[in-house]
Amino acid sequence: MAYKPQFYPGSTSVGINRRKHMSGNLEKLRDIPEADVTAIMGHRAPGADYSSTHPPLKEMGEPDCPVRQIVAPTAGAAAGDRVRYSQWTDSMYFAPSIPYWRSYWGAINCKGCDPGTLSGRQIIEARERDIEAYTKAQYDSEMTDVALCSMRGCTVHGHSLRLEENGMQFDMLARTEMGADGNVYATKDQVGIPLDKKINLGKPMTEAEAKKRTTIFRADGIPMCGAVGARKYDEAVEALHHMWELRSKWGFRPE
């Protein structure tokens, strides 16, 4: 029987969503053009050449290495692109994804990337044409709600602040705005430089939908222990206790 990864325990909606994020089996909610994603990332103008750090691998003549023969390089690595980043801030008010789950998604599903997890933001570094594809995948999928998540290269705070009155995550640099038509527009790139045109990111999720799709356990949403008053804790807590116990014992070394 073929091995099927289990990814994450638990039968709560958050547990199920976490499994979805890690497996990469995500629903596509919107389609933001590649050029617009490139513009929001702000590393190069849409249509411009990719800057490179080395010649294409084919021209370089690689050493005779069995690992290099087994592993096919990503498009960006083959072309010798520079390493670039995209960084996300997700609100703790039921954003669909959170830093750890963006990182799990990246580490499991994205080849040749380097995810970095911080308390309120998450960064992925990869070769430029690869990171563009990964960022577009994040933007288009249910990992992202355009009101509660945004790409922020600097001045990233917003994760743990209250939302604005219109339901947007607070952004000191005002990189996104809620339009009069109910759509969210990106007006600046991820470091706060104004874009040539506003980019329509579509409508944000309703509060109920965000709670349905979130990967955040919260006492006022889905608690980690599962249903309140249930006889048994959810498997997520049992697995956590199990890991905690093994880790503690492994770390305990009586001389």
């Binding site: 705070h157 939302l163 009155e165 706060g192």
Partner: protein, 167 residues
């Protein structure tokens, strides 16, 4: 048993469940002002810089944060923060119920309102460095210790002053 005086001043904190838009902040402050009995008031929230403070886009203007003028009690002043919390001192407890009603009228979202002690009473080193031997102790607790003096706006019955002096 100690009976609390109902004529002593009280301090109140209002925390809306979301950050307020300038228009809502103006409406709320006007309602609070209309209720009367305010000895002093402080508006607190995250800073709204006029330009990108750091990173590759440093210095790029943030037009959305400029000229956020609000008018309170007939006086206009520029909002430098996203209003997230209001602390004030009332002359006596009799204004509290009116204040709560004012918040309910002005805020379209839920909020917390509580009495407590929110302004410090003894001068700190920072206060001394900023104001010197200021006689008026009402100024204590009205300003973020890390903020520059130029960031402080004082509203009084007579005038609004924004001290532009750079330290």
């Amino acid at each position: 048993m100690v009976t609390e005086s109902d004529t002593a001043s009280i301090q109140v904190e209002i925390v809306p469940s979301r950050f307020l838009m300038p228009a809502t902040a103006q409406k709320l402050l006007n309602e609070i002002y209309g209720n009367g009995g305010i000895t002093r008031i402080m508006v607190q929230g995250p800073n709204l810089p006029r330009s990108v403070p750091y990173g590759p886009g440093r210095g790029a203007p943030i037009d959305e944060n400029r000229e956020l003028l609000i008018e309170v009690g007939g006086q206009a002043f520029e909002l430098c923060v996203k209003v997230g919390r209001i602390r004030l001192e009332l002359e006596s407890d009799k204004y509290f119920s009116g204040l709560k009603a004012a918040c309910e009228r002005a805020l379209p979202i839920s909020f917390q309102i509580k009495k407590g002690k929110f302004f410090h009473t003894r001068r700190t080193i920072t206060d001394y460095a900023k104001f010197g031997n200021e006689e008026d102790t009402r100024i204590l607790g009205l300003i973020d210790p890390k903020a520059k003096k130029s960031k402080m706006a004082i509203l009084s019955e007579e005038r609004v002053t924004i001290d532009d002096e750079e330290r």
